[in-house]
Amino acid sequence: MKARITVTLKKGVLDPQGKAIEGALGTLGFEGVGGVRQGKVFDVELAHDDKEKAETDLTAMCEQLLANTVIENYAIEIL
């Protein structure tokens, strides 16, 4: 079973890298970019097909390591 975890910065957390990317997009001539926030994607392969267990485990993985919940949100998608 495969899963995709997306980690994004919480609203209001300053993102200097996103700001720099936004500036670079402007430099390239892309108009109308209202903002860019940088995040992370984790593709996780699980050695079983138990969807319920996967959701429990992936949530624990996010809480314990993959996301810093002080500044980041996470979303889990079973593929």
């Binding site: 300053l14 390591l65 002080v70």
Partner: protein, 224 residues
């Protein structure tokens, strides 16, 4: 008091920290590797030095914070043992949840390696009592992710409880930290996290010794 330095792969300021503790206290600190599951009971000060533990992979300090030795550090933290994290050590303490907030990429996106000025914002802590309140000291910084941030409630609590120990002074904030925060304490006052490197300004060969006071305070050394 007896000090211990935590060692992790990828740290690079551990030798400087060991040298500083040895020169200032006259006794070499114990070193504790990341796989250890306990901290000797006679240790009164645990220091997590700077560097790039685990290559800064995932988030600075994130993987180091989950190593076995950190469970022992967290237990000692709860028991009131003094703990000090410098630079990557500060990032690790935040990832462990022992201190509030987070350190983001520097606002100007550059790695900064230079000297800054710090205001001693609280001189009545276990780590800063050799300074005068409001004293300005020099201190080197060297980091890419030192931009302290926290929600408004946390910032208000830090301020109200006088837990900001050091602030960047005189316009020398090198990373965009909110409220010029350079170093903070936990609520019970036994844990300090700071981005600047006091271990690199402890003797004339370094060009000054303004960093000594932090170690003299933390080690309860007799006043000279």
């Amino acid at each position: 008091m007896k000090a211990a330095v935590i060692l992790l792969p990828g740290l690079n300021r551990d030798r400087d920290m060991i040298a500083a503790l040895t020169k200032i206290s006259g006794r070499a600190p114990t070193t504790i590797w990341q796989t250890e599951t306990s901290i000797p009971s006679d240790i009164d000060l645990i220091v997590i030095p700077g560097g790039f533990s685990y290559g800064d992979y995932l988030r600075c300090g994130a993987i180091a914070a989950r190593m076995p030795v950190m469970r022992a550090v967290a237990e000692r933290a709860k028991a009131g043992t003094r703990i000090m994290g410098v630079c990557n050590g500060f990032q690790i303490l935040l990832e462990m949840g022992l201190l509030p907030g987070a350190l983001m990429r520097n606002a100007n996106l550059n790695f900064v390696c230079k000297e800054v000025e710090l205001e001693v914002a609280n001189a009545q802590t276990a780590f800063s009592n050799r300074y005068e309140q409001g004293q300005i000291i020099r201190c080197p910084v060297a980091h890419h992710d030192g931009n302290y941030c926290a929600d408004d409630e946390t910032l208000a609590r830090l301020k109200g409880e006088h837990r900001v120990v050091f602030r960047y002074a005189n316009g020398t904030n090198p990373n965009g930290s909110v409220n010029d925060i350079a170093g903070i304490l936990n609520a019970s006052g036994n844990i300090l996290g700071m981005m600047p490197h006091p271990e690199n300004l402890i003797e004339p060969a370094h060009g000054g010794d303004h960093g000594r006071g932090i170690f003299e305070s933390a080690l309860d050394l007799a006043l000279a």
